[in-house]
Amino acid sequence: MLALQILIDGFAISALYGLGAIGFTLMFGVCGVLNLAHGGIMVIAGIIGWWAAANYGAGPYGGAAIGVLAGLVAAYVTYFAIIRPVQRSRAIPKEEEEIFVLTATLLWGIMLQVGLDYLFSNNPVTMRSMIPGVISLAGVRTPRNEILIAVVCWVVIGLLTLLVNRTRLGKQLLAASINPRALTLLGFELSRIYMVVWTIYGLLAGLAGVLLASFIGVSSANAGALTASAFTIVILGGLGSVPGSLIAAYVVGYAETITAYLIAPTLRPIPALLILVVVLYLRPQGLLGRR
């Protein structure tokens, strides 16, 4: 009974962690960008979705759609206002681009958070469940919404896998992640591929933010923690590896859930962090990362 409870609870939260992290890892894999404003973008999606649903009668689905759209817009703004100027700046040497992306997105993340504070206050908010009610799964009372969220996460992850592995566009993305220069030599425009990745990223981060708001709630104060959590999962899985991130999301999700059930809810985050230290010590490139 307890084992089943842990299995079900851990599954949904891990799926959500995974969804939050794969956009982040894809972005690094293809564009080489570590976006530290990631949590801010997720929170924007969640809060705008809630705001549209609660104040303008958009309903749970309309609110979710508006929220995802807000996430997409936030991602585009991040790209055009922050990332592109860094990538195109002649004053920034290529080998130092990484630290400039980190610093600039860090500052941008703070601006997003303070802006949200100003406009919406830092109160945590939750979106209405898309399907209310609970059902009994082999004796474990489970909210329908939780099941829906797990299903949506996995459908989206499945679609993304299909896109990357089965379509022409996906092959280009893969090629860009392995050798961007060769791709330009073959006549593909990198900036177009970057646009595609930022679009996918914006949709994924927006969706993750909306589902988060509907499952456990969001607040602008969570932005930093969400970024840290995505960063942790992505590194544990190996930077740029989508399957690695999914495995890592489940490792972290279950480590937290098992700790909360079997050891003590106060110690919840610690085992996941210790696992991370051990894994990085033994495998410095993460679970499925390339050297």
Partner: protein
């Protein structure tokens, strides 16, 4: 590019110089004329923080409209601390040393109150927190009175809050609903340690056996494991001690249809926006608070609440009332002392005994363990317990102030044990 750096260095030096001029010498000590300045340090982005500044401003408006203090007006200066202790310390320095405020009203966060306590001692600024609940704040004052006497706690230390919860739980759960057992669910924080100790001691006396005690990490987002653990022990009621979290556990309690009612302290549930923030999941949640709309604890409660709605468009969090009372108490003390001298103000503050918005407003003395904190009890500030019922905050305790029945959502099972 030889001369390039000279120009640039020149610009740098000029910038440094202009900065120096901009930061001109501090003005001489303002004469003891003109308005009395009181600083308010709180976070405007937080609904609770905003209520503090609104409450202080309302009190100042009232005092100024009624002749001021010894003919001098009160002027409120606002400082945003972004809920950061480091920021609050700098704001405090600015208030005291640059703007020469005579007193400070600040924060509902214990960490910030504790970070400011040494500064109030150092700079001799009477400082009052309208909402922080750590026992440590008053313990410092008690243990080292000469140094920390400038600090006041315009609310209850956690141990006293626990007593209030037990008093109400006895009537609400043990007596009215014939409940026998309770589980304690608290975030792992400094203020909940004395609270939990208090609960464990006084709940059995109130007729509720404690069957489980769950502390959880305040950063917890998924509460499913906690609810499942508690449910396995079959308590009749969950007594909470939460402030850092609130929306999340409430929504998950509702979505997962945990069949056990929520009582105790859930600070976020005292906000009027809580219903909207949780999309109505708050229905049935009970928490300790200062007052609710429409409740007259003293003749001041309703008029001040109406002033809030008139001026700011919404009813405040309870700290709006405690901040109002804090400014009134400070002004009263300055009036009686005929001075803003900090030691004289502190002496007069200790003699405060006035009708506040939430009850008879007075502080514990030096002998009490809870020096300079608010007096609790039916004769002083009673505190009320409210329940969210269909979008409204409804007072359910004490019976001497309100007679509303508790109503629970359908997934809650109180029928078996309830009287009818």
């Amino acid at each position: 590019m030889r001369q390039g750096w000279i120009t640039r260095a020149g610009i740098g030096a000029a910038a440094a110089l202009s900065l120096a001029i901009g930061a001109s010498p501090a003005p001489a000590q303002a004469a003891e004329k003109g308005p009395i300045k009181i600083g308010v340090i709180s976070e405007q982005s937080a609904i609770v923080g905003q209520s503090i500044s609104h409450g202080a401003e309302l009190a100042a408006d009232y005092i100024n409209a009624h002749g001021g203090v010894d003919g001098r007006k009160i002027k409120i200066l606002l400082y945003d601390d972004h809920s950061s202790a480091a920021d609050a310390v700098r704001a405090f320095q600015r208030a005291a040393e640059q703007d020469h405020v005579k007193a400070v009203v600040t924060t509902f966060i214990s960490e910030i109150a504790l970070a400011l306590e040494p500064w109030s001692a150092r700079l001799h600024i009477p400082t009052i927190t309208p909402g922080a609940a750590s026992n440590l704040i008053t313990k410092q004052i008690h243990d080292n009175y000469a140094r920390y006497k400038y600090m006041f706690e315009g609310w209850f230390p956690a141990t006293i809050l626990a007593q209030a919860v037990c008093d109400s739980s006895h009537d609400l759960f043990a007596k009215d609903l014939h409940m026998k057992t309770a589980a304690i669910m608290s975030e792992d924080a400094d203020w909940t340690k004395p609270l939990d100790e208090g609960y464990v001691k006084c709940l059995p006396k109130a007729g509720l056996k404690v069957v489980d005690e769950v502390a959880f990490n305040p950063d917890t987002t998924d509460f499913t494991p906690i609810f499942n653990k508690i449910e396995a022990k079959h308590p009749d009621v969950i007594i909470t001690g939460i402030a850092h979290v609130g929306v999340q556990p409430t929504v998950q309690w509702h979505d997962q249809q945990v069949p056990i009612p929520f009582g105790g302290i859930s600070a976020q549930a005292t906000n009027l926006t809580f219903w909207k923030d949780t999309n109505g999941a708050a229905n049935g949640v009970i928490t300790q608070t200062g007052t609710v709309p429409g409740l007259a604890i003293t003749p001041l409660t309703i008029p001040v609440g109406e002033e809030f709605v008139k001026k700011y468009g919404h009813f405040p969090a309870f700290v709006g009332f405690t901040a109002y009372d804090a400014v009134q108490a400070l002004a009263g003390a300055m009036g009686r002392a005929h001075s803003t001298n900090p030691d004289a103000v502190v002496t007069q503050m200790e003699k405060t005994d006035m009708v506040g918005t939430l009850g008879q407003y007075a502080f514990h003395g030096r002998k009490s363990k809870y020096t300079h904190s608010l007096r609790y009890g039916p004769k002083w500030v009673p505190t009320v317990f409210m329940q969210w019922q269909n979008g409204k905050q409804v007072c359910v305790w004490p019976a001497s102030k309100c007679h509303n029945k508790m109503i629970f959502p359908p997934f809650i099972k109180t029928t078996k044990t309830a009287a009818k």
